[in-house]
C-alpha cells in the first residue's frame, strides 16, 4: 500500500493508504480529525472543505495520495492558542450556524474567500458559497458573519 505524508495543521502526518482512500477518510479515520464532515456523495455540499496548499477544496473529491507532500489545513487548525480564528468568532457572534453540520466547510470556504478577495460584496459572498449547502440557517447569518469577518460594518 502506498504511504502518504503531508503537513496537517502544521504537524507532519503520514500513513499507509489504498489508492482509493479519499483525503477526507485519511483526515477523519487515520488522523481522527473529525471536524471535517461528509454530507453527500455527489461532491456538492461542501461540508468536507479543507485547504490544500492554501486553496479550499472538497476533501471528499480528492485522493489522500493526491495530497501527498501538501500542506493541509482543517477546521481544527484555525484556532491559535485556544483563540478562535476571526471567522469562527464571527460565525459565533452572528449566529451563522444552527445544527453546525455544514459549519466546518462553511468556515474553511469563507476563510479562502477572504484570502482571495478581502472585501467581497454580498453578491460575491453568496456566489462563493455556491458549493456549501446549509439546511438550517437560510444563509443570511452566514453572509453577515463573513461580512463582519471582512471588517464590513452594518452586516
Amino acid at each position: 500500500m502506498p504511504t502518504v505524508s503531508m503537513t496537517v495543521n502544521g504537524q507532519p502526518a503520514a500513513g499507509e493508504v489504498e489508492g482509493r482512500t479519499l483525503l477526507v477518510e485519511f483526515l477523519r479515520e487515520h488522523l481522527r480529525l473529525t471536524g471535517t464532515h461528509v454530507g453527500c456523495d455527489t461532491s456538492q455540499c461542501g461540508a468536507c472543505v479543507v485547504h490544500v496548499n492554501g486553496k479550499s477544496v472538497k476533501s471528499c473529491t480528492m485522493l489522500a495520495a493526491q495530497a501527498d507532500g501538501a500542506e493541509v489545513t482543517t477546521i481544527e487548525g484555525l484556532a491559535t492558542n485556544g483563540e478562535l480564528h476571526p471567522m469562527q468568532a464571527a460565525f459565533k457572534e452572528h449566529h451563522g450556524l444552527q445544527c453546525g453540520f455544514c459549519t466546518p466547510g462553511m468556515v474553511m470556504s469563507a476563510v479562502d474567500l477572504l484570502n482571495t478577495n478581502a472585501n467581497p460584496s454580498e453578491r460575491e459572498i453568496r456566489e462563493w458559497l455556491e458549493g456549501n449547502i446549509c439546511r438550517c440557517t437560510g444563509y443570511n447569518n452566514i453572509v453577515k458573519a463573513i461580512q463582519a469577518a471582512a471588517g464590513q460594518t452594518g452586516g
Binding site: 502506498p2 489504498e18 489508492g19 482509493r20 479519499l22 456523495d41 455527489t42 461532491s43 456538492q44 461542501g46 472543505v49 486553496k55 479550499s56 477544496v57 472538497k58 473529491t61 480528492m62 485522493l63 495520495a65 493526491q66 501527498d68 470556504s109 479562502d112 474567500l113 462563493w128 455556491e130 458549493g131 456549501n132
Partner: protein
C-alpha cells in the same frame, strides 16, 4: 469505490508509459468528474495516472498570437489569469461560471473537454472561439474534437497537453445555469474574429453544436437584433427533468442574444 493503483506522473512521457503498462488505465486531471464517477462505481480502472502535478501542462501563455492554456490549468486559474482577462475576457467569464469555487480550484480544462459532458461549459468556448486541441501526438480542431455524447476524437492513451485559442475581435458567453449543479441548461459562446463568426451551443443537445443560421445572420451584422426571428429546432435537443427540448430551443435564442450583447 473499487480500489486501483495510483500513480503520479512526472511528465507526459511517463504518463503514456504508465497508461500503456496498465491493464485498464485512466488519466486523472483534477478528479472532479473522475472521483464522483469512481465513487458511484461507474468505472473500475486498474490504474489511475494523475497528471495534475506535471508543471509543463499547467498555466497560460501566448504563442504566435494565440492564447495557449495548458491542459491541467484549473478553472480558477483561467478565470483569474491576466492574459485571458485581457485577450479573451469571455473565456474568463465562462471559467468563473463553472460549478463552485472548490470545483474551480481543482477541475481542469483538459479533464472537462476529455469528458465532454453535454452540459459542460468549455466545449462551447472551444467551438465558439475556434480553438485547437493539442495532444501528445497531434493537433485537433475543436470542430472535429467533440464527436458525440461524452465522445471525443481522442484515441486510446492520447493525452491533451494544451488548448490554443485564437484571439477574437469580439466574444461573449451567456449561460442559463442549472440552479443546483451550475452546469449549463443552455450556454452559448458567440464570437467574431480570425476564426470567423461562430455561435456554439452547449447544454441543449447531446453534444456542443454550431448554430449556422445565427452565424450567417451575425457575419454581416454582429448584433443581438440580427438574431431576432431566428429560432433553433427542438427536434434533436435534450429533454429531461430540468427542461423540455422546446424550452431549451427557446433558451438557445435568449442566450445567443445575451452572448452577442455581452460581446459588446
Amino acid at each position: 469505490m473499487y480500489n486501483f493503483n495510483y500513480h503520479r506522473a512526472g511528465s507526459v512521457e511517463e504518463a503514456v508509459q504508465l497508461l500503456s503498462g496498465a491493464s485498464e488505465g485512466t488519466l486523472m486531471g483534477g478528479g472532479m468528474t473522475l472521483i464522483p464517477v469512481l465513487k458511484q462505481r461507474l468505472a473500475n480502472p486498474s490504474d489511475v495516472v494523475d497528471i495534475g502535478g506535471i508543471s509543463a501542462l499547467s498555466g497560460v501563455s501566448e504563442d504566435g498570437g494565440k492564447v495557449v492554456v495548458g491542459a491541467t490549468t484549473t478553472h480558477a486559474a483561467v478565470a483569474s489569469d491576466a492574459t485571458v482577462q485581457a485577450k479573451i475576457p469571455a473565456l474568463a467569464v465562462l471559467a468563473e461560471s463553472i460549478g463552485d469555487a472548490q470545483v474551480r480550484n481543482r477541475g481542469t480544462i483538459g479533464g472537462s473537454i476529455a469528458n465532454n459532458d453535454p452540459a459542460a461549459d468549455y466545449p462551447a468556448a472551444l467551438v465558439g472561439l475556434g480553438a485547437t486541441i493539442r495532444t501528445n501526438t497531434r493537433e485537433i480542431a475543436a470542430d472535429d474534437f467533440f464527436t458525440g455524447l461524452f465522445e471525443t476524437a481522442l484515441g486510446d492513451n492520447e493525452i491533451i497537453t494544451a488548448v490554443a485559442f485564437p484571439v477574437p475581435d469580439k466574444a461573449g458567453y451567456a449561460k442559463f445555469p442549472n440552479p443546483a449543479s451550475r452546469y449549463a441548461v443552455v450556454g452559448v459562446m458567440a464570437s467574431q474574429g480570425p476564426a470567423g463568426t461562430r455561435v456554439a451551443v452547449t447544454g441543449a443537445g447531446p453534444c456542443v453544436f454550431r448554430a449556422a443560421d445565427m452565424e450567417a445572420a451575425l457575419s454581416s451584422n454582429f448584433s443581438a437584433e440580427a438574431l431576432s426571428g431566428i429560432s433553433v429546432s427542438a427536434d434533436d435537443l435534450n429533454s429531461d427533468i430540468h427542461a423540455s427540448a422546446e424550452y431549451r430551443a427557446h433558451l438557445v435564442g435568449v442566450m445567443a442574444r445575451r452572448a452577442v450583447a455581452a460581446a459588446g
